[in-house]
Symmetry: C2
Subunit: 453 residues, 2 copies
Amino acid sequence: MDLNKFFKAKSIAIIGISKNPNKIGHLIFRNLVESNFQGNLFLVNPNAYQVLNKKVYKNVNDIEQEIELAIITVPAKIVPGVIKDCGKKKIQNVVIITSGFRESGNEKLEDEVKLLLGKFKIKCIGVNALGVYDAYSRLDSLFIPRYRMKRPKQGGISFISQSASMGLAIIDLATTQSYGISKFISYGNATNIDESDILEYLGEDKETKIICVYLQGIKDGQKFIKVAKKVSKLKPVIIVKGGINPEVEKTTFSHTGHLAGSYEVYLAAFKQSNLIYTDSLHEMFNFARILEKTTPSKGNRIQIITNGGGYGISALDNIIKNNLRIAELDKKTFSSLKKQLHDLATINNLIDLSSNATSNDYKIAIESCLNDNNVDVLLLMILYQIPLIDSSILDIITDFNNQKKKPIIVVSTGGEFTDDLRKSLEEKNVITFNYPEEAVSSIKALVDYYSKK
Amino acid sequence: MDLNKFFKAKSIAIIGISKNPNKIGHLIFRNLVESNFQGNLFLVNPNAYQVLNKKVYKNVNDIEQEIELAIITVPAKIVPGVIKDCGKKKIQNVVIITSGFRESGNEKLEDEVKLLLGKFKIKCIGVNALGVYDAYSRLDSLFIPRYRMKRPKQGGISFISQSASMGLAIIDLATTQSYGISKFISYGNATNIDESDILEYLGEDKETKIICVYLQGIKDGQKFIKVAKKVSKLKPVIIVKGGINPEVEKTTFSHTGHLAGSYEVYLAAFKQSNLIYTDSLHEMFNFARILEKTTPSKGNRIQIITNGGGYGISALDNIIKNNLRIAELDKKTFSSLKKQLHDLATINNLIDLSSNATSNDYKIAIESCLNDNNVDVLLLMILYQIPLIDSSILDIITDFNNQKKKPIIVVSTGGEFTDDLRKSLEEKNVITFNYPEEAVSSIKALVDYYSKK
């Protein structure tokens, strides 16, 4: 389904604008202005004349120009009438923010809306939706003010979230952690466009490299599996499913009007469709980052290089726990490293450069591992607290990473000094983590994805 | 065992001071000066006369004053001689930072050190130790410069870490995240004082409310279990064990010279001793924070209050996953809330105040749950992005939290705006989390601890 106009519309009508700065229509208008949206904006409300010095039309049909997208924020009971107006105006795409339908027990009203959308061949995101955000076109239907939630920069990750609240948490986190995003869609009750339609669209979307999906229920399981199988061949799809436990289902139902279905059924379907599943929002971000930034992995043998023995061991534990393999260096690499490194360095399950490690020791060890066919993934563990590590380590890692020979993942745990160095690497497109356990679980997602390709 | 002088010594000799500012002895001296340590410092090195304008003694026996603690940083082969000097000087406590003993294959040298320590009745933290830090006395034997790793503020959490590298990661994180700590000990090879001795000491220590232990191996299992059982009755003990998988053992052995032992044996021992186990450093901190700050829980029935339905559901899932229970409100509470709250609020498995929630709605809901005997723990989920939540929510939560009726845990996910409000609550002693999953796993640790008391 072509959903392009939801993100790239050049003319938008906000139907349900209000003078009251706390009302949703007003907030959306402000956000579109503040986001520097380049298209034409039109405001509609039968009772208003002007909002923020801009003309307000009584009806969308009073507007002479063509409208590519309508954002509807009127009260629920008026929605059917507004859709008729949109149909008459030949508007083909609407986002309905309004709530008070199936999720509040008003199935009849939602059915009426659905019927009208079908009759006029209108594509609809909603009802009960937070709407859409496109970091490239700056089309922004989210009613959250920018002082409370900044908007993310441009990048390759797109998010689909059924839930509005999880959606805004996701977009706010993405901004804070400087992840570049492409598109965000929170689609609410899925009255006519559902998760599968959006997933299929993002699969084809050139601005989207990675897709993250937060679901509560799935409307049509067969359709979803079919689409997911197709899309996961094109790009990584990471899925988080809320309301996955049977006890939670009654809440999920009241929240979106769809049954959530049982845990096992979902997990099996996700696996069958090659989706990357996690039950943690935090992990969803980590998986998206590693898959977006890192060179594809060719296998699951991980080589750790560390300047802290105990620190390295904590990652080894996680490698075993995640069913990854500890790399066994080629004999040549081993003896060459033994010659080049200082006496306090030890090489067994990991390369422990010890607290005597210099940046140059890392250089020697990284280069050897990149050239060793027994190593698939390099996990660099660096405690920057130890004085002998100087800032030349940043260029060393960046240079090797730019060669794109093997995935290089860096983990560093600490405070301000550590964090500044971590961020410097991130800015140079090196993937970094704060904790060994999250680095390893993310490597697992990376390795699994490429092993199935 | 009385280890008080390791933390409260009024006179310290640094044996192995160097003019070279990158050498360990020099770094420790600088840190003690910069930490504003109030006791007397003496420097010892047979070949130096002055370091940073301070007199250097050729031998510790040339010092006239009594020395309560010696910090030893000389090369390994000289350590036995230095211990004899300390014995002659009647020094009863030494921290040996020097490495190059059992962990590097020099068992003989370590045995010699052990024998000498016994002969002179000297208590020793080390060999191969990072040493100690006391946030109250400012005694600081860590050789990490302060510009690379700030030191944490005063508080109630004490850390024991066998591994130096994990130890410094822990202390650096504690500082960054503003956790107050009491004592930190990284004890290396445990030549005569081991993890059990330190645990026992911290159990009695009045400045320590919570104990966190990072272990790789345990020297004497029976002794450890006996001490752990005793101490865990006095205060919460959280344990993280590195090298827990059999495949990792050979690395653990080369790192500390002790066998790590098998996973199941350890887990059983921890459980038997009522220790709180986690395999994640991140969780260790979360557990310590919640146990330090929160009112004791009387049961495992959790009531969620949220302004985002999907956001609430993600926590419900985690409640089930963690074997906690979803609270079922008393009928009276239910009908009273129905009367007081607005129409869009729904009450089932959770109290969903919806995006129309105001700070006052939270006040109504919190008060009702505090007075409902069917509720043991309150989990407040607040998306501050939604404009109707104003900053009065901070005082509302702080006031209820100060009543100490039931544990109140707040989770908020988002960016800068959200984080500022989160930090304000933390400063007022309210416990907060960034992600629903970490809030719930921490509540699990809290509930489990008090259910066993």
